[in-house]
Symmetry: C2
Subunit: 197 residues, 2 copies
């Protein structure tokens, strides 16, 4: 059964891949807007874990709208949420029986409601899976420590391929560095170097 | 890492075991009140899947209260919910790093809120996992068809070891068959015979 997992190269989506691996033919798919080459970080992480990898280009106008939303809001939540829903809708068009992401129980953004999940499944005739939805932060940390070699650091220094890098780049291009610093608070990111030896 | 999974011998908790198997030393634990020997069905299912098995006796007074709640309500939801929370609290006292159950995304009862999960984790210093929380009915059905040999039928004919059997037995003893029929609507259950050959 072919499954497309939205993949950033970070610990959550990497752990989601390991959870699904027993049951599905998992392809790690990095959705991007063609703004940066950040997806190459995800490709390297996918290779290190031994999963097939592909990119999936999203609609640039969604990114443009998202950064305007983020600038108006002064925080990234709604823009990121819109982009994630668009990515799921778009990847659900692939020739797969299921799409998945790395959402955790304690995630606030992006979050996929039960109603959105059901609607996505009905409209695209796929299953939507969030294999970490039943795992809290502490359990994820334990499993990551046991299974993955990761780098941790501030968002701007860790190579990764979530939407944030491209949205930051777009925001800088349209409104300058100052706006990026206002919209994105400092927080740590992780990048997966491979399985634990 | 030792994990205790609340186990009924049904498809959901069996599938949860397969999902967790890669990451934890999973023990299948059937919680019961000592009212019936239904736990033996779960033991056989656990053996057929090759997992270690144990029983865990719960506080009988919780079952007594639950059947009175169910009789007063005229439906089983609140009684089952109370028993499930008691079972999680009780099993969390075992010498494990994590407890888990087979709750699915679309389950209404029992349901474990994020707040209850966090509280359980904090008070017992364990992780609580619901590995099927991010899987809808269709995905669960696909995985079960691929992985498990199951029997399906009305609740009263399928050998199983969830709380329902014991609560029905208690309710019959206290208030007669008529009350059981009023409280429990007809619905189908599954019982796992083993892995797909």
């Amino acid at each position: 059964m072919d499954l497309a997992l939205l993949y950033s190269g970070g610990k959550d989506s990497s752990l989601a891949a390991l959870l699904l691996d027993r049951f599905y033919d998992v392809e790690l798919v990095t959705a991007h807007f063609g703004v940066t080459d950040d997806w190459e970080h995800a490709r390297r992480a996918a290779e290190s874990l031994g999963f097939p990898f592909d990119t999936h280009e999203l609609d640039r106008s969604v990114a443009e709208e998202a950064v305007e939303t983020m600038r108006t809001d002064g925080y990234p939540r709604n823009g990121i949420q819109r982009v994630h829903e668009h990515a799921l809708e778009s990847v659900a068009e692939r020739d797969v029986v299921a799409v998945a992401d790395g959402s955790r129980r304690d995630d606030r953004v992006p979050s996929v409601s039960r109603a959105f999940a059901q609607s996505l499944e009905d409209r695209h005739d796929v299953d939507y899976l969030s294999p970490l939805a039943g795992f809290g932060r502490s359990a994820v940390d334990s499993l990551v420590a046991a299974e993955l070699e990761v780098e941790v650091g501030p968002s701007e220094e860790i190579p990764k391929a979530d939407y944030e890098g491209e949205l930051r780049a777009l925001l800088t291009d349209r409104h300058g560095e100052g706006t990026v610093a206002e919209v994105f608070p400092d927080h740590e990111q992780t990048y997966v170097r491979g399985p634990v030896e």
